[in-house]
Amino acid sequence: MYNFNYHRPKDLAAAAALLQANENAKLMAGGQTLIPTLKQRLASPSDLIDLSDVDGLSGIERKGKHVQIGAMVTHAEVAASAVVRRAIPSLAELAEGIGDPAVRHRGTIGGSVANNDPAADYPAAVLALGASIFTNKREISADDFFKGLFETALEPDEIVTSVCFPVPVKAAYMKFPNPASRYALAGVFVAKRAKDVRVAVTGAGESGVFRVPAMERALDKKFAAKSIESIKVGEEGLVSDLHAQADYRAHLIGVMARRAVEAALKAT
């Protein structure tokens, strides 16, 4: 790991100022992705801005029909949150399935969405539930946020402050984890919302998380696993690597989607 200057600002304005002043600066949340990246020298920031002490990035709050989660809230906190368990149990379960207990104690929701790893779990929930990402500058809808492999709509000096999830009618997440890394080979989040159904897939797409409109339309008509039995997801655009071929991932998406629908129906 190359050395860097370490900063620990107390508020958002100071963190943003540090980002603006140092072109090669990087933010650090839980460090569970960034520190391994630094060790591999895939990133070599001049300055590291630790968000741990920044005010206003913690806490989980129910706000009417929404649940707002601060960017620095850890996966373990989401998994254990009574507020999340009651409003969106599928989200708590998703958080509980990320990595392992030690990773969940440090990894954060803000870091996870900002990183947009194509195999990460949160992007599927954010996209399927139609969440909003709040930053120090603006609000970005999930549909506009994820831009491809590790790419998001965030500007270089933009800081995620919270993620706000609308409470769905029913929802569930099913993940087929790579047995070694625990990352998703295919993970499907199905959300039945007041007016529509959304299905988002992670782990399988060459350009990250994506929706499956054919399944959404079918589930909109009738929310049952049978409705999507005959819907095939094409191999095009799916990842083929040493862990799984595209055709296998395409098959997994169907299986995980049906299981997610069944789990969502059972949950209520």
Binding site: Y2, D100, P101, V103, R182
Partner: protein
């Protein structure tokens, strides 16, 4: 160099580190607490697990500077030299929960964290899920799972805050 102040196994520590110094390097190299091991250095094996403010973390995946002001407990903090072993350590000894012992400090710190979160009556699947981030190349895990179940029961009532 940046300065850092923290508590390690109940002892106040103040020292200088580089930005890039990992918590595990601070523990092993600066403080000579070599019970915390580095098996992979890629966040996979869990040999480096310590408690930071009461929670299990991988010390190879945390900067020393991120532990500023924190309370850190390592395997050495569970039982002072010459004192009886911590119930979880004793359970590993009794149940043949280790062979080469390389993974053991991380296993034990992870196990105690699991008891803190899930209580003293742990079934096998809870224990196995709790060990998701810990690898052992020797035992085949059976006796580790047995040790943790026994250690968890033995910890009942003995609210012995690890190296407070």
């Amino acid at each position: 160099m940046p300065k850092i102040t923290l508590t390690v196994n109940g002892r106040a520590v103040s020292t200088e580190v580089e930005g890039r110094t990992l918590l595990v390097e601070l523990l092993r190299e600066n403080l000579r607490l070599t019970g915390t091991h580095v098996g992979c250095d890629t966040s996979q094996c869990g040999c480096c697990v310590v408690h930071v403010n009461g929670k299990a973390v991988k010390a190879c995946t945390m900067l020393a500077l991120q532990a500023e002001g924190a309370r850190v407990v390592t395997i050495e903090g569970l039982a002072p030299d010459g004192a009886p072993l911590h119930p979880m350590q004793e359970a590993f000894r009794q149940n043949h929960g280790l062979q080469c012992g390389f993974c053991t400090p991380g296993m034990i710190m992870t196990a105690i964290d699991l008891v803190n979160r899930e209580g003293n009556d742990l079934d096998d699947s809870t224990i196995r899920e709790g060990l998701e981030g810990n690898l052992c190349r020797c035992t085949g895990y059976q006796n580790i799972v047995k040790s943790i179940a026994a250690g968890a029961r033995a910890m009942k009532g003995k609210k012995r805050p690890a190296a407070a």
